[in-house]
């Protein structure tokens, strides 16, 4: 199981590093501060309704969440010396990632 989780962590690390900086810069800073004018609803809606965009964003969400789960689990173990809470931490991290993935799947694939 551990190698598989490590693979998800690693793939999520790469995808997050490649895609999140640009997306977060635009939607978190550039649009709110008015540096760049945000796209209108019709355009963004068209981009998001394309199947390729949806699958790509779902992949990003799922892998990024498992990246978080794996890394945060070890941050709690080592950073805060919580090795004795192993079961609860594992459940919280991977359970959170699974739940988040299901929510992402619902928002990206089920909602028209």
């Amino acid at each position: 199981m551990e190698p598989f989780l490590w693979l998800l962590f690693s793939a999520g690390g790469v995808l997050s590093a490649l895609l999140i900086p640009a997306l977060l810069f635009l939607f978190g800073l550039a649009f709110p501060l008015g540096w760049v004018s945000p796209p209108d609803h019709a355009h963004l809606s068209a981009v998001l309704s394309h199947p390729v965009t949806r699958v790509a964003l779902l992949g990003l969400c799922v892998l990024a969440l498992f990246h978080w789960a794996h890394r945060f689990r070890y941050a709690l173990y080592d950073g805060l010396q919580l090795k004795h809470l192993e079961r609860a931490i594992t459940l919280f991290c991977y359970g959170g990632a699974l739940t988040g993935s299901a929510v992402a799947g619902y928002f990206l694939l089920a909602v028209p």
Partner: protein
Amino acid sequence: MKVEYTQFHPRWYRPRVPVFWWLRRRSYLLFVLRELSSVFVAWFVVFLLLLVNAVAQGPEDYRRFLDWSATPGMLLLNVVALCFILLHAVTWLFTLSPHAMVVRLRGRRLPPAVIGAGNLVAWMLASALAAFLILG
């Protein structure tokens, strides 16, 4: 020497590590900050899904999302998040993977600098594609 059962257990050697051990050295602190970057990766997923949901709901909700993302609290959170995301991206693409990835070309291992340069190109292409799709 006669070996026999004893009810006395030898004492464990377990040095106590203080909770804030990672404040002692710059490299330790950087390690913990890199690990904490994952929290902001998860925050970005939440932010992205809220955006996707707002766009799906219609123009009114999308406008409300844009207004909400311009409130001081959200701006502050996203500035901090972007700093951590950049720390993650820079360390992952240019420090970690060039040394972790073994790419062989004609039987020879590519030097880490070449892989780092390849990652830089991939990063620029991915960012340009995202910006092009969003800004149209």
